[in-house]
Symmetry: C2
Subunit: 336 residues, 2 copies
């Protein structure tokens, strides 16, 4: 068995991330990571008729770029593992519907990049696939009107609000050259009882804490084992909660700990309140920023912990809380 | 590599289905399979306040019964793989939110039972898990109001319509005694261009045909290798399309071929038009009827091919077609 402790597995073959691609919208292309992305659209519609169709085009473009960068025709992929935030995950479905590639649809809310990466790595390490694509994305305009208010309503945003990132990220995994996936810690659902749909950071932070804690316990590692630890999209408020929770345990998460939702925007000038959120947030930061930095040797050992809020407008209107989930993926540079 | 042909993998360790459980609503408990299910509720609300909360209770009960029948505490499970039809898959999430078990959320529409079973079997065969639960379910009242009309509207139903099954199915997989998962054929998305949301059978049938054809090609088997072949929820109309498509290839799908959506209701007396549909349809028929029949020796070799329609109300309202998907799982009795 390839198991460590209660929630972690290790991957003896260490599947490689052969390529990564990130496609973003205008706002993301004006933020601190503006030079990281493979393609940015000036138009929130990506040239499509509706925002939903735009999200499909964005994912499709991201998938194509990832295949191109891996120098693989799509038909060389054994599986695509993908999901998104839209009801019934239509943007991933429609992006892949003409690909002809065996498709495994996922729903992990904003944790989908870590979920798809985990399953892709296990399918390769388990001997079921040579090459897989793990992908996800989100769009500000589709998410806002689905989860919150019509954009035309112009609702006020509170300080704990987060801005859904318009972005997609895709990784091609296989045997070959690239940063390697070594360990996976799959999270249980954690319900901290938060009911405020404008405070996703607080809803997801306890899940991030529990999964990171399980990862450290299962592997015997401490945070300083890693050159960098990233949570997915907690924003500034959620990030602070994670640091506080670890502080109560006497564990210091220092400068090596960052949150993708804080990195992708300039929180002082871009009017995004607590930071970025959405599947595309951690996906585009991983594909556009983290993996390329690992290839350049800036970081050798990285822990990527994408976080998701498992709610819907219906569950919230029926008075339910917002359960969170977080999956962590340990990635090492070749030769680390 | 454990691959055969383009879309199929085989599982050398042949993970066993240790237990199966099916929980259904009143209408299902009055159909031809009425004696197959572990629990039936007389109340469409399962004692809960709303239909969505009822769906949660139904899934939760099904999970508990599956664990009981496997004589395992839930904490002995390494992963739960689950999904459902509700937007953002809230019924699976809320059913599992207090379980403490690592959770992998899936969206495969009505193909989810085959998707969850496939991934659970691969996680076990790959050495990542000792025991997993694969689960899904659907509820007529939540699905109708989400995908079609408020029930109070009392809309007319056309002959090609299908009745969303109120049911959940759960399987516990691991090493031990029980029918064994031997091969998996994961489907690509197939878009036949169908846009009629009242004709899901026609939208999904081409996907069932393509996946079954790939399964036969990859394994070198013919339909008569199997004692029984089940599609998920094509209904009478979709089943006939699959038979017609194979007939054009000169392949006869005879009496060994059945559709779970046709089996679960009496199409002559239960006013369900073309038959049953929904994740819970193939899940409850597999867990309540097929697996128990295999244990009794009625069938030794079974091919289970759950089918899904990958649409949402938004995609349909934006003029999109309804892509289909189908995943096939080969199951053999012990000693077959």
């Amino acid at each position: 068995m390839k198991r460590l402790g209660t929630q972690t597995v290790y991957l003896p073959s260490k599947p490689a991330i052969l390529s990564s691609a990130a496609v973003v919208g205008k706002k993301e292309s004006e933020g601190p990571l503006k030079n990281c992305f493979d393609y940015a659209s000036d138009d929130s519609r990506f040239g499509a008729e509706t925002w939903e169709k735009a999200e499909v085009k964005m994912l499709n473009k991201c998938f194509s770029i990832a295949c191109d960068k891996a120098k693989l025709p799509p038909s060389d992929l054994n599986y695509v593992l993908a999901g998104d935030l839209l009801s019934q995950c239509i943007s991933s479905t429609f992006a892949m519907k003409d690909s002809g590639i065996p498709y495994l649809g996922l729903y992990g809310a904003c944790s989908t990049m870590a979920e798809s990466l985990s399953l892709a790595a296990m399918l390769i390490d388990g001997g079921f696939a040579d090459r897989c694509c793990a992908m996800t994305g989100s769009h500000f305009c589709t998410a806002e009107r689905q989860f919150r208010m019509p954009l035309e309503y112009g609702g006020q945003r509170c300080p704990s609000c987060q801005w859904t990132v318009t972005a997609a990220g895709a990784l091609i995994l296989g045997s070959g050259s690239g940063p390697r996936v070594t360990h996976l810690t799959t999270g249980a659902i954690i319900d901290a009882g938060i009911k405020d749909v404008n405070n996703m950071g607080a809803a997801m932070a306890p899940a991030a804490y529990e999964t990171l804690k399980a990862h450290f316990a299962d592997t015997g590692r401490t945070p300083d084992y890693y050159d960098a630890i990233f949570t997915g999209d907690l924003g500034a408020l959620g990030r602070d909660i994670v640091q506080d929770l670890f502080k109560q345990d006497g564990v210091k998460l220092g400068a090596e700990y960052m949150d993708c939702g804080v990195l992708i925007y300039d929180l002082n000038t871009q009017d995004v309140q607590s930071g970025g959120s959405g599947c595309g947030c951690s996906a585009s930061v991983l594909a556009g920023h983290i993996i390329p930095a690992m290839k350049k040797g800036i970081w050798k050992k990285v822990l990527f912990a994408a976080t998701g809020a498992l709610m819907s407008p219906v569950s919230s209107m029926q008075g339910e809380s917002i359960p969170g989930i977080c999956h962590a993926v340990a990635i090492e540079s070749e030769g680390a």
